[in-house]
């Protein structure tokens, strides 16, 4: 702006504020900190903050503010130019054991053992694609940060580390090409998920039978993990206090809920076909949201001889936030049963769920994300939020803003007729074949 400013930030965001200012070109920005939190405090309590010390420096807070605006700049503070950021040497040489420690201590891992990305192993991984190792394939940031870029070879290093085989590599390139990081900077603790469709599921021996979402196959385990390693190493994500701020964290970030669709046992179109791909194409689709809930907990889950899965799913969705979408993860037994109930396409079920999962306007306005994200949109006239905010409190409105908030995928081993439900939004579908 060209005029002196002082940002007033709560102590919880200290590291974030300093680092972000530095990444944006002002490594010495004069930031003043208040105690945390501000939310929920009374004016009297906040006056104590203002009259008290900056909890970071220990000096009086308002003296810091005034000094920040008036003390002349040092030479360093006036510097201009371009500085490059170092990520260390291109290779490390040491014993295998020491390298395992080094990668862990340098924050290159998810704190679990890795396969060391030796040049031999990286070269073997690179054989899994026809793309040139030096091709720059994307840019990634774990939030509102300047994005990092990366080549095919960079992706290969993270793929080796996660334990992937070279034949898995095109899937990782497809994910990396989207630029979506699986560790996102927010004080919320988000979860991520991917759906894999096409013949590659069998070629790579993905598990979409018993234990589909659990640790029971190398492809499911390592590809999901690789997304998190890529987010750390290629997108600079997952540094607590800097590029990761989720207060409580999310256990699903270890594997990122890899779902290979059980296309063979499903009575419906596969997910990628719904998105306009051909059945024989290999596609990965990415989701983001909060988490996964099992259907056993729904009300009416034991209406014995005639289970009504549509109503059960709707019950589960009613405690979700409509800001994220509703992803049905149906066991094939559930899908077949739903088809017998008359839902011969996924679209019919989506239509029913959208219309029958409702809430009152009062409940809607009381939800966290409604205020934070949808109320500003309502003020700008964006629908359906503008209408919803005008309706009386007792009006009944859909729980999710549109039918496209819903998605359905089929997976599981048919030992048990239950679905799972995820509070997750569809992001994007990417061809895997393009990266072969």
């Amino acid at each position: 702006m060209g005029i002196p400013s002082v940002p007033l930030v709560t102590k919880a965001f200290k590291d974030l504020a300093i680092l972000n200012a530095a990444k944006r070109g002002m490594p010495h920005e004069r930031i003043v900190f208040t105690p945390h939190p501000v939310w929920g405090k009374t004016p009297e309590e906040l006056r104590v903050y203002v009259d008290g010390p900056d909890p970071v420096t220990g000096k009086p807070l308002m003296k810091e503010v005034v000094d920040g605006l008036t003390v002349p700049l040092s030479d360093e503070e006036k510097k201009t130019g371009i500085v490059s950021v170092s990520v260390g040497p291109p290779t490390y040489t040491d014993t295998a054991e020491n390298l395992q420690d080094l990668y862990l201590n340098n924050g290159y891992t998810d704190f679990l053992p890795i396969v060391l990305p030796t040049e031999d192993k990286v070269n073997a991984m690179l054989k899994g694609t026809s793309h040139h190792p030096d091709e720059v394939i994307g840019k990634m940031a774990a939030g509102a940060y300047p994005p990092w870029s990366y080549t095919v070879r960079h992706v290969a290093a993270s793929a080796v580390m996660a334990g992937c085989r070279p034949e898995y590599f095109p899937i990782l390139l497809a994910i990396a090409s989207t630029g979506i990081a699986s560790l996102f900077s927010s004080t919320n603790s988000f979860a991520f998920s991917m759906i894999i469709n096409g013949p590659i599921r069998d070629k790579l021996e993905f598990n979409y039978g018993i234990g589909a979402l659990g640790p029971f196959a190398q492809a499911n385990a390592t590809i999901g993990r690789a997304w998190t390693l890529m987010s750390k190493n290629l997108g600079n994500g997952g540094i607590p206090g800097d590029t990761y701020l989720g207060s409580v964290g999310n256990n699903l970030n270890y594997n990122n809920v890899v779902i290979a669709e059980n296309e063979e046992a499903s009575p419906w179109d596969p997910f990628h076909v719904q998105r306009g791909f051909k059945k024989e194409e290999n596609v990965v689709s990415l989701f983001r949201g909060l988490g996964v809930v099992p259907g056993q907990v729904a009300r009416g889950s034991s209406v014995n001889t005639s289970p009504m899965f549509d109503a059960q799913l709707s019950d589960l969705f009613s405690t979700f936030t409509g800001f994220f979408g509703a992803l049905v993860i149906a066991d094939p037994l559930v899908a077949v049963r739903l088809k017998e109930q008359g839902y011969d396409t996924k679209e019919k079920l989506i239509d029913w769920l959208y219309k029958n999962t409702t809430q009152t306007v009062k409940d809607y306005k009381g939800r966290n994300y409604s205020y934070l994200f949808e109320y500003p949109q309502a003020l700008q006239g964006v629908e359906p939020f503008a209408t919803w905010y005008k309706l009386p409190d007792d009006a009944v409105i859909p729980h999710f803003p549109r039918a496209s908030s819903f998605n359905i995928v089929v997976t599981g081993g048919q030992t048990n007729a239950y679905p799972q439900a995820a509070n997750m939004s569809y992001g994007v579908s990417v061809s895997i074949d393009k990266w072969m």
């Binding site: 990520v87 260390g88 291109p90 014993t95």
Partner: protein
């Protein structure tokens, strides 16, 4: 963590961090310390992507004094920021009554920019205090 240590972890170059090693660097352990893996060394590639270069922005010149100046208090919209800035305003009224305070709520959700406000501040203001976070 102090600023120097933090920036060092970021991999900021010596231009920013005179005297600090640019990176975590090589492992301290003596080679061969791992009895089972023997003294044999392997070479592994660095998995990090390419961070963008940073365009340094010189900070705006500071004022000699705030006396008689106009200071904008900008609320970015996080819960509670408005109340906090009001307390800052009251402090100025009590301790530096010659300062003119202007309170503004930034338009749009917290992640969006507000160019008209920045323009207004540049034209009418001398300094800014912005409240970020909750």
């Amino acid at each position: 963590m102090n600023r120097r240590k933090l920036l060092s972890l970021l991999g900021m170059s010596p231009v920013l961090l005179t005297g600090e090693p640019a990176h975590g660097g090589q492992n301290k352990h003596a080679a061969g310390a791992g009895a089972d893996s023997g003294p044999l060394k392997v070479t592994a590639v660095n998995p990090k992507g390419i961070p963008p270069s940073i365009q340094l922005i010189p900070m705006a010149p500071r004022l000699d004094s705030l006396d008689g100046k106009t200071v904008y208090l900008v609320d970015t919209g996080f819960h509670g920021s408005d109340l906090l800035l009001h307390q800052v305003e009251l402090w100025f009224n009590r301790n530096m009554p010659s300062v003119t305070l202007v309170f503004r709520r930034k338009a749009g959700p917290y992640a969006q920019d507000d160019p008209p406000l920045w323009k207004e501040i540049k034209e009418k203001g001398n300094a800014v205090v912005m409240a970020t976070g909750h």
